[in-house]
């Protein structure tokens, strides 16, 4: 008898659970193996190699940055960097999320506001945020505000437009229905449509976070005294690949965790949103 199902190949493949896990881990293993081999080759040629540090060196970097007080500042660098970076990131993205949500929601439902702002927001969204970084630093200073503003301006138009599009997709019938059920105009916007759009906001934020990290690290690299991006660009001068790699891995882990939390948040708080994923 011919087997009609394969484990891996083709449209009809049905990998069993253990294989799916293995397949998911495989690319990571390959990456690590490739790195270790390359690092080993370089170290046999030159034990002082800084470009591809060994696991031991990176372990020492973790110990140095995360569990040893910095002599100059008396802080645990990794944690204080993480704290100041996350503060900026969350301030910027939550400002963008809140204002983009309100604006997109209202633009989607109110023709007057839409006529006034749609072209403007689309225009704004096409300004390259990094290009106006100097303007932001000049007008808001090189302190916290300048960086938060960069993240805000970089993600706000995108969130607004995405929420706007989601609201526009809501059938007119639903709005009429709410009015026949006695909703006021504000009631339609904030009590009927807004709760339906909330999970979309979380998805938009998930996607915008990538850009937010980019703007955060760029602004920290240019002018800062703390932060994950600042540290990476600081130790670059001493060619400390060990610290850089540890920091990059750490940033990736944080970004991945935030994304995971937001995704789980959608399935827990809004079980109606993606009925297919539930099954």
């Amino acid at each position: 008898m011919k087997k009609d199902k394969t484990w891996f190949r083709g449209l009809h493949a049905a990998p069993p659970h253990w294989l799916r896990l293995l397949l998911a881990i495989l690319p990571f293993m390959l990456l690590v193996a490739f790195y270790l081999t390359a690092s080993h080759i370089r170290h046999t040629e030159n034990p002082q190699d800084k470009l591809l540090p060994t696991i031991t060196k990176m372990g020492n970097a973790i110990k140095k940055t995360a569990f040893t007080e910095d002599k100059r500042t008396g802080k645990y660098l990794l944690w204080s960097d993480t704290f100041s970076s996350l503060k900026r990131l969350l301030a910027g993205i939550s400002m963008a999320a809140a204002s983009g949500f309100l604006l997109g929601l209202n633009m989607g439902l109110l023709p007057g506001l839409r006529s006034m702002l749609l072209a403007f927001i689309t225009f704004l969204a096409n300004v390259p945020p990094l290009a106006i970084l100097p303007i932001l630093f000049i007008s808001f200073g090189v302190g916290e505000l300048g960086k938060i503003m960069l993240i805000f301006l970089g993600t706000f138009p995108l969130i607004t437009r995405d929420i706007y599009l989601a609201v526009r997709k809501i059938p007119q019938n639903m709005i009429v229905k709410s009015l026949t059920l006695g909703a006021s105009q504000a009631g339609v916007i904030y009590r009927v449509i807004m709760p339906q759009i909330l999970p979309r906001l979380i998805e938009t934020v998930r996607l915008s976070l990538g850009a937010a990290w980019l703007f955060l690290i760029a602004s920290e690299a240019i002018a800062s005294q703390s932060g994950l991006g600042y540290r990476i660009f600081l130790v670059r001068r001493y060619l400390s690949m060990d610290v850089i790699i540890v920091y990059v891995a750490w940033i990736t882990l944080i970004a991945f965790s935030i994304d995971l939390i937001l995704r789980k948040c959608i399935t827990w708080v809004f079980p109606w949103y993606n009925p297919k994923m539930e099954r």
Binding site: N173, S178, L179, G182, Q196, P271, P275
Partner: protein, 297 residues
Amino acid sequence: MSDAYLLYLEDIQKTYGDKLVLADIDLAVKQGEFCTVVGPSGCGKSTLLRLILGQEQPTSGKLLINGRADVLHPSPERGIVYQRYSLFPHLKIIDNIMIGLILPLPFWKGIFKKKIIRKEALHYLEQVQLAEHAHKYPHQLSGGMRQRVAIAQALIKKPQILLMDEPFGALDPGTRESMQMLIIELWERHNMTIFFVTHDLEEAVFLGSRIIVMSQYYLGGSEKTDGQAKGARIVSDHSLEKASSTHYKESDEFGKFIQQIRKEGMDPAYLQHVTQFNLQHRDSFQTLTSEERAVLQ
């Protein structure tokens, strides 16, 4: 005279750009009527419903709800059940029904009154036989169940008139029949006025206490060219006997009447002049232009 009717339309016209969709609709509906509307597809049945609902505005003419002309936009006086998108996907079934009583209240009052409102909502949910599904989301219900929720959702507002736009159009025949029995039962119990648009003649004749046939196939009227691009008019209007069981559907009388309606409304080759429309219902009337009247004499 127009005050005696719950719904009064005179000379209603609706155009989209150059296209005349509704030409000269005259219609008066009394309280308590189950008014079904049929006609060829694309003749403007749903457009007429949207005008009555306030979702769209007539291009010209007079539209009164309970003698009032100031009900321009959708409001609680007129309930609506659509074929789809009637329910709010983010609310559980019970909340979908409660929302009609919560939305008119300021939100803080809604919180305090939730218990009483929940009780009333459950009462309506029982009437559509869905009490055990109260805590599911709409996507977990079948199409027929969803429409039953939509009916309960509209009913709890006690609208003066309930508008239904092909509400059973997407249901399988068995479910459709049980929904028909349900809506007749609810209509009788709540003494409702229903305006029911459907493309199914059988359904229209079975359900209604009055059937209105719209068509764009007729002679005369405001346009000079016959036969093409005419706005729809009401070409026939009958009162119907109340059906008490589905057996009525199998009778000869029922079948003959369907044939008659099909000929009057759906047959492009059967053209009546505007003065010859079969307007038998006692509430029906027609505003004719002097040109049209001249043909009569």
